[in-house]
Symmetry: C2
Subunit: 353 residues, 2 copies
């Protein structure tokens, strides 16, 4: 995104740069919304238009997250009541839209792991974006010969549960997009596309953005400093599975600080986009660290889904056993992701302004 | 062990050095056998004399392995018919004696893992030698509160199965020690303690031992060269669990080359003992590598025991789930051990003559 120069006699002031970024994201949001409406949002079944609907939903989430994150990081420059009212609504929207994709990706991850754990090479490597290939799962039944009874039954159980969850998430997303709550969000985004409600202090020079971006960076570094990076840097520390059999069915509390860093890293990235636009140099270190945390989140949620499936009443012991192996495998993926994050983060900072 | 100098006017010749080592091991074997008979071999129950019986059984295994390994490595210097007849008998004996200890250690390892996986800190860290503390397992019931139903049931099932196996192994060991087959072994070892049946070529100088020890070293290095060390050196490569859910219930074929290296490393160590006696410098690198392979073997067998317990008919799904988690945990220990071996082995050779 190019930076707007409203006053050709001077460099862009903080407000202009911020407004240009928010307007571009709002415009993208409205474009994605139009695209989504044209496709009818048909993402669950592999009909024509499914890919476009997936692309549109992703673009909607993408711009909603960026608007929300930017309102947060640069809130002193924006009308407080307006932006504080808008952020939870954007979070609700992107959360609702993300769920359908997440269930699909989780199922793909777990089925791929079941095949890997069965020594089966028939199953393709985990697709990076299963939503983009809605037909991929249709190949499964013919490949089940390579699985043991337990693994096949575990796979069928997960497929049933996660497909149901995905279908429900799809309905919920469609319902959300038709709700008056969503229309209020869309109206607000439309306002944003034409005029960003800046405060008076936003008229300062572009350096007014930098302290706020730096504060976001500082929050990120503080959160990373709180992570158990020394442990994470020792391979095979067996930390991630420490509560693998505990009675607590809630998400593992040890994961929360990592999830928090993932969110702060995202805010940091958006702040850099605001400051530098398309000219922002790609920071491979932060990119790798972010990918590790995405993998951390995905594996943690897949592990929880396997544990949850194992609590289904009246399943066969062989099914439960396979789900136990699968749970532990994904918790080790969690541990591997922490190791990868530690490696990426500890690498010398290069090219970060 | 000090090297014998039968001829004070010359350095020890190959035959003398070899004979001295074998005689010392044979003497140790006979001493351990007397000690074992005095204690009545009471290792399973925590009676008086249990520790002595454990020590005696360990000393018997220890010297039997050393005699057998030395007969193998230096076989061109020994009467062929005699040593080829003796080796399988020593292997049978040390194998029979090792089983009781192995089942006990396996149970301790699995119960410690179940507690670790339950986030329970009540259970003491895995004892390095559970046999030396026969009362340790008696503490378990009061600690089971920290376990989920599944983990507690899995622990109880493993305890039942492995205690039964251990009791049977104990009976088998006692029966073996009273058999005529064993008396023949003991008679042969008694012969060895007084006179080692050397060949004529064994009268060469001490350098006659070195080529044979070097050949043992070479066999070790060849076997290590066949290991997938590049994969093993990448943390979290997920190789060890690749057949975690395969239909094959046989021990994992991928483990065999590692077990083989473990045996060759042991032969290499015994050959160094023959050559250098007590003066052999401790090679920390080989020591660490050997410990990693011991851990590899123990974890692989523990994982197999968990998988085997999961095939018990009519177990509860929660039990099967816990056994699945446990199996995967131990297979990751296998992977961690391979990583540790790779690290130890790749370290620059220091102090190895």
């Amino acid at each position: 995104m190019a930076q707007q120069h409203l006053d050709p006699t001077a460099g862009p002031v903080a407000g202009d740069t911020l407004a240009a970024y928010l307007q571009a994201q709002a415009t993208e949001f409205l474009r994605a919304l139009r695209q989504h409406r044209e496709t009818g949002g048909a993402t669950v079944t592999a009909t024509n238009g499914a890919e476009e609907a997936v692309d549109a939903a992703r673009a909607l989430r993408r711009s909603a997250r960026r608007i929300s994150g930017t309102l947060h990081t640069f809130r002193p420059l924006l009308d407080e009541g307006w932006s504080e009212g808008m952020r939870p609504e954007l979070a609700w929207l992107s959360g609702t839209l993300a769920r359908e994709h997440a269930y699909g990706a989780r199922l793909e991850r777990l089925l791929a792991a079941l095949h890997r754990l069965s020594g089966s090479s028939a199953f393709p490597a985990q697709a990076s974006d299963p939503d983009a290939h809605p037909g991929a799962r249709a190949q499964l039944p013919s490949e089940k010969g390579a699985l043991t009874v337990g693994a096949a039954k575990a796979g069928a159980l997960l497929e049933r549960q996660l497909t149901l969850a995905r279908t429900r998430a799809h309905s919920a997303a469609l319902q959300a997009l038709g709700s008056s709550r969503f229309h209020a969000v869309a109206d607000n985004v439309a306002v944003l596309a034409s005029e960003v409600p800046l405060t008076a202090s936003a008229s300062a020079s572009v350096t007014g953005l930098k302290p706020l971006a730096a504060a976001a960076d500082e929050r990120l570094c503080d959160a990373v400093a709180g992570l158990p990076l020394i442990t994470a840097g020792h391979p095979y520390n067996a930390e991630a599975l420490v509560h693998g059999l505990s009675a607590d069915t809630a998400p593992q509390p040890q994961d929360s600080p990592w999830h928090q860093v993932r969110l702060l890293l995202r805010l940091h990235r958006y702040a850099r986009e605001v400051l530098f636009g398309d000219e922002a140099p790609v920071d491979v270190r932060l990119l790798t660290a972010g990918q590790a945390l995405d993998r951390h989140r995905d594996a943690a949620e897949a592990a929880a889904a396997a544990a949850s499936a194992a609590r289904t009443p009246r399943i066969a012991p062989a099914t439960a056993y396979a789900l136990g192996v699968l749970h532990a495998d994904q918790r080790h993926e969690v541990e591997a992701a922490r190791f990868a994050f530690q490696r990426a983060w500890m690498r010398e900072t290069v090219g970060t302004p």
